[in-house]
């Protein structure tokens, strides 16, 4: 098991390297200028050259990449061009804010999706299955930014029950989840975010449960005289691995922060930070955020794989 974990961690190194190369290349292939935030729209070519030199952007791109990589290996992600704050600070604060959303959105989404899928898969072809499958299709198809805007209109604009945007009266610095005046800012973004994975998880669970119910061992269990509840318990456990894999991916997405949901709610999380870094071509922040998110994905997938191997030891042997 120790060797397996070590091997998986070593896999993360080429992934991280590949992600940073692709990200670096994409930033430079895209039109626009990495100094967009520090130069005004009317800046002349001469101004841009002076500033490029001052920020080290006049060096060849491969040299810039090697310098950046060297710093990252020593734990220095650089400084944001736009805010002049350390990238590590920018990314960690944003991740903490996104994690707060994920902390609530993940259990809501997983519990709801799994329950819906399990119920539907247990009664294939029945009205409850059709109802749940229909709801799941709607859930998958619904653009979450649209849902966010609708929720804002209903609960913030028309009824004034909940705040429309932001992270509390003092922003994230003074956010106290135990204070209702702060906690209420979580509700709409959490609900919107939670809706993203519900449909996918419900559909996956339904398929896995329905398939498992047709397996021979289920007939054997029934023949042995087990109650339907006991059979269902076995079915659900055996249907778990594919569901867990999907949950892992969705967990990664939620931790990565949804750019659209965080933009609609002006939630200062990693998705919002990423979108700003893209628009501003703030290369150090972009690189730092993407690399961190990629590592989170790798870590989550590793945890999911380990969990799967605990549930189904055949996977580990494979």
């Amino acid at each position: 098991m120790g060797k397996y974990i070590l091997r998986r961690i070593l896999y993360a190194i080429p992934i991280a390297f590949g992600v940073s190369v692709v990200c670096f290349a994409l930033v430079y292939i895209a039109p626009g200028d990495p100094l967009q935030t520090v130069v005004p729209p009317d800046a002349t070519a001469e101004t841009i050259e002076v500033v490029k030199h001052a920020y080290g952007f006049d060096k060849p791109i491969p040299v810039q990449f090697v310098i950046w990589l060297g710093h990252v290996l020593t734990g220095d992600f650089g400084t944001s061009i736009a805010t002049r704050r350390p990238v590590i600070l920018e990314v960690s604060e944003a991740l903490a804010n996104t994690s707060l959303l994920a902390l609530f959105a993940v259990p809501i989404a997983f519990f709801t999706g799994y329950t819906m899928g399990a119920v539907a898969g247990s009664f294939p072809g029945r009205w409850i299955d059709r109802l749940v499958t229909g709801a799941a299709v709607v859930g998958v198809s619904l653009p979450n930014y649209w849902l966010g805007i609708v929720l804002v209109i209903v609960f913030a604009v028309e009824s004034l029950w909940l705040p429309a945007t932001g992270m509390g009266p003092s922003g994230s610095a003074g956010f106290d989840i135990l204070e209702w005046s702060n906690a209420k800012f979580l509700i709409l973004p959490v609900v919107t975010l939670a809706m993203i994975p519900v449909g996918v998880i419900a559909r996956t669970t339904r398929a896995a449960v329905a398939e498992m119910r047709n397996q021979d061992f289920v007939q054997t269990l029934r023949a042995k005289g087990l109650t339907e509840w006991a059979v269902a318990r076995h079915v659900l456990k055996n249907a778990m691995p594919p569901v867990l894999a999907v949950m892992g991916l969705q967990f990664g997405y939620l931790l990565g922060g949804s750019i659209l949901v965080e933009t609609v709610f002006t939630w200062p999380g990693s998705g919002f930070l990423l979108s700003k870094a893209i628009i501003n071509r703030d290369v150090p922040v972009l690189q730092g955020t993407i690399l961190t998110l990629a590592m989170i994905f790798v870590a989550v997938n590793l945890i999911v794989d380990l969990l799967q191997s605990v549930i189904d030891p055949r996977i580990r042997r494979g």
């Binding site: 895209a30 039109p31 626009g32 200028d33 100094l35 967009q36 935030t37 520090v38 005004p40 729209p41 009317d42 800046a43 002349t44 070519a45 101004t47 841009i48 002076v50 500033v51 001052a54 920020y55 736009a82 805010t83 002049r84 704050r85 920018e90 604060e93 609530f104 259990p107 809501i108 805007i149 804002v152 609960f155 913030a156 604009v157 004034l160 029950w161 705040p163 429309a164 945007t165 932001g166 009266p169 003092s170 922003g171 994230s172 610095a173 003074g174 209702w180 005046s181 906690a183 979580l186 509700i187 933009t263 609609v264 709610f265 002006t266 200062p268 930070l273 700003k276 628009i279 501003n280």
Partner: protein
């Protein structure tokens, strides 16, 4: 465990259902502004985030030597004394300006404002060898200091500025350069990242606190040198909200009491909720800068045809009235508008001109953005321009790109992007140089300046030189008027619209007068239920 979490959320929802939004953040006189900016403007002097950064952070934390008079909205704003009380060109040397500084002014950190501070500020943005040199500030202020050769102290409260060529418009240019405290910068050992969190200026507001990317809070500078402009509200909170729908929702739900640029389709809803929708003409244009190197627009008849093809009334209807028909580079309220030739909608005349020029159908390609500062509603507006021009004999191809990419096209100029016959980029036209000169002067050819399409005309250059050398304000006004009229005669752009600078205020906001300017004075504003 899941159920436990759910029950927390459920309880929270139920609790929320019974409670209207309590307005702790709006207690007393707090003015909370939802800005269109994608982030908080930088606080180290000249801000980023376009002129919105100057409006809310630049001119609030800081002063420039020359300020803008924003006290009325009935005529175009002009400059007035700021940290300098008077200025004049040196009669013996027209490349030297003398500025008398205001006495008794203190920085927010308690230090005295002196001539040395002005010299230090200029060095900070121009002299790469000076310890205080800040490349970000160099970038932000270069366009205004490009003609500045240096500054020197004459006495404790008098400064001389040297310019590279005689420049009668220098006071306008220096009005955009913010003065920051050398005391604070030295105390922080020129760590500009730290300075951003502890800025010190002389402006009507002091910095109180900031949560990066989320909010900045300013409080009145009760010792401000202009007693009439000590802020009337207790606190000014600035919140970046780039999405128009988010700003509208935030205003309607009471989270903010002021939003910038509500979208035209939200106006009715805002008005029905009792919000004040404020508009005024201001020096902004929404035009197409043209390619004078190759393609159809090198022919004046085709440029005129494009202007005749546009039904600007239709455009205004589409924007729910939130624009003024654009018939020139500057709006008619500017003092040097004069009596230019106006290209009123006449598609037949447009077609006849195209026929005469031998370009029917006349194929042109426009580079446009999907969004961007001052770009209004670029996609529907460009689509309407295309349909109107196509109906008059053009064949317009629109090439949309993101704002950053369009800025790259605009900066690099026509030589790098000859495939475009025009670029749709809105400009500020607040002062004569930015309004007129930069678009037609050969010294401003891209990539060295804003004359994107390389318009060139020796007569126009002569006129520009005469303007820059004319230090008598009235005579200069006559020359500027002449320049505007010539620019229209030659149809140097396709003129479309001037924005009306819309903003929506909750009914509890009082005392705001919208100036005809990109900048606004928030100091008279109070917030009372």
């Amino acid at each position: 465990m899941y159920r436990h979490k759910l029950s927390i959320i459920g309880a929270a929802l139920a609790f929320g259902a019974g409670l209207p939004l309590a307005d702790a953040a709006r207690a007393g006189g707090t003015l909370t502004v939802g800005m269109t900016a994608g982030d908080l403007p930088i606080t180290t002097g000249n801000p980023d985030q376009g002129f919105e950064g100057y409006r809310f952070v630049g001119y609030n934390l800081y002063d420039s030597l020359v300020l803008w008079d924003l006290s009325q909205g009935s005529k175009a704003s002009d400059i007035k004394p700021g940290l300098a009380t008077e200025w004049q060109v040196d009669e013996a040397d027209h490349k030297r300006w003398i500025f008398k500084l205001r006495q008794g002014v203190k920085w927010h950190d308690g230090c005295d404002f002196t001539a040395d501070d002005v010299v230090w500020n200029i060095r900070r943005s121009t002299d790469e060898k000076a310890p205080e040199f800040d490349p970000a500030q160099f970038a932000q202020s270069r366009i205004y200091l490009v003609n500045t050769a240096g500054a020197s102290k004459i006495d404790g409260h008098t400064v001389a500025f040297e310019t590279k060529v005689p420049d009668s418009l220098f006071p306008y240019e220096i009005s955009y350069v913010m003065m920051i405290s050398p005391c604070r910068a030295k105390e922080l050992k020129y760590n500009w990242g730290e300075y951003a969190l502890r800025p010190s200026g002389t402006g009507p507001y002091r910095f109180d606190r900031m949560v990066p990317h989320q909010r900045m809070e300013l409080v009145p500078n009760t010792g401000y040198w202009d007693k009439a402009r000590v802020p009337k509200q207790d606190r000014l909170v600035l919140v970046p909200m780039p999405e128009a729908s988010t700003r509208t929702a935030a205003l309607l739900s009471g989270q903010v009491n002021w939003i910038e640029a509500p979208s035209p389709d939200a106006l009715e809803r805002l008005k029905s909720a009792g919000m004040q929708v404020v508009t005024n003409i201001y020096p902004h244009n929404w035009t197409y800068q043209l390619n004078f190197v190759n393609g159809p627009f090198t022919d004046m008849r085709i440029r005129q045809a494009a202007n005749y093809a546009l039904n600007r009334e239709d455009m205004k209807d589409m924007l729910n009235g939130l624009m003024l028909e654009g018939y020139a580079t500057i709006p008619p309220s500017m003092p040097y508008f004069g009596h230019p030739k106006l290209y009123k909608y006449d598609p037949e005349k447009a077609k006849a001109l195209l026929k005469e020029a031998g370009c029917l159908p006349c194929k042109v390609t426009f580079a446009i953005s999907t969004s961007g500062s001052g770009q209004m509603q670029p996609l529907p507006m460009n689509e309407l321009v295309k349909s109107q021009m196509d109906a008059a004999g053009f064949e317009v191809k629109l090439e949309p790109m993101d704002w950053n990419a369009l800025l790259d096209v605009a900066r690099a100029g026509v030589e790098k992007y000859p495939q475009y016959n025009a670029i749709n980029i809105s400009r500020q036209t607040q002062d004569p140089y930015n309004a007129l000169i930069r678009h037609v002067w050969t010294a401003q050819w891209s990539p060295g300046g804003s004359n994107w399409g390389h318009y060139g005309n020796p007569e126009m250059d002569k006129l520009v030189k005469a303007i820059l050398s004319e230090f008598d304000a009235e005579k200069r006004l006559a020359l500027l008027t002449q320049l505007n009229e010539r620019m229209n005669e030659e149809a140097v752009m396709i003129f479309v619209a001037h924005d009306l600078n819309p903003r929506a205020l909750s009914p509890e906001v009082h005392g705001f007068v919208q100036a005809q300017s990109w900048f606004q004075d928030l100091t008279p504003v109070s917030v009372a239920p």
